[in-house]
Symmetry: C2
Subunit: 141 residues, 2 copies
Amino acid sequence: MTRANEAWESLMRAYAVLMKQFNAEDVWGDLTMREYDVLYTLSKCDGPLRMSELNRHVLLSQPALSRMVDRLVDRGLVERCPDPGDRRGVRLSLTPEGRKVQQEIGRPHARSVTRALNVLTPEELEQLAVITAKLAGNEEK
Amino acid sequence: MTRANEAWESLMRAYAVLMKQFNAEDVWGDLTMREYDVLYTLSKCDGPLRMSELNRHVLLSQPALSRMVDRLVDRGLVERCPDPGDRRGVRLSLTPEGRKVQQEIGRPHARSVTRALNVLTPEELEQLAVITAKLAGNEEK
DNA sequence: TTAAGGTAGATGCAAACGCATAGAACTTGA
DNA sequence: TCAAGTTCTATGCGTTTGCATCTACCTTAA
């Protein structure tokens, strides 16, 4: 078992533990964490986002994401517009209501995250951010 | 946005990117990654494991795990035994076939993991392991 | 111009999921 | 000792997921 494998296992375990912890908190209203993740991603990259781009950030298959967006559109949280430059494509953005919902959930959730990660020193937080950014940047060959 | 939130977001992103990468590799036979995760967890903690204990390590609801174990038992990969000390409980272990399948998938997957994490220096790998272990240990409250 | 190949997103369908809850077995305190 | 509360796993049920595939559109090259 290499160091790399130990590190990855430890990362997966931390992810599972923290996700369960966050999921158990009573801050999600009538959204799932996955739905919130979509709203959050849209809120960050504040230009309209392509479906395929969004799909890169979210751990969901393309069809599952397509249907989740359907539902979010039906609920008035997300808007689907045709992409002027590519008529196959779609541009997604939050509606004002969607932005509001994202923020209302985001605030208490962000506090939970801060609390959970406070077991780390500032140096460790910094290291974690640097290391995971490096990992995420490693698009496959 | 605090450092903690940035670090968590970065971790989530790295997790999503790497999971997609691993999932796309052709090493899983007729198992899903989640099923493999269960086999792997059982292979590590090699005493029989309680359902509830297994559930702590796996990112699945308790009913979903219960049914996944059903399927793995049906396929002859996992064994369910009554717990002598607690007649509500169940003790889970790999069958020889289950262990074999886990190893055959585990070998190439471990290589993928090593390859993916090779972008990190040995120091970074060490730091990542330490930091995520600390996070996973932070049981709520 | 157009045929061949690739990419974006949607849809049919069976399998798997989560929530709520059931049932059985432990634990605790009166 | 026994009622009330908790914990462990399983099951009913509606929703969501992934795989395979489809259609529409873009790109390339002859």
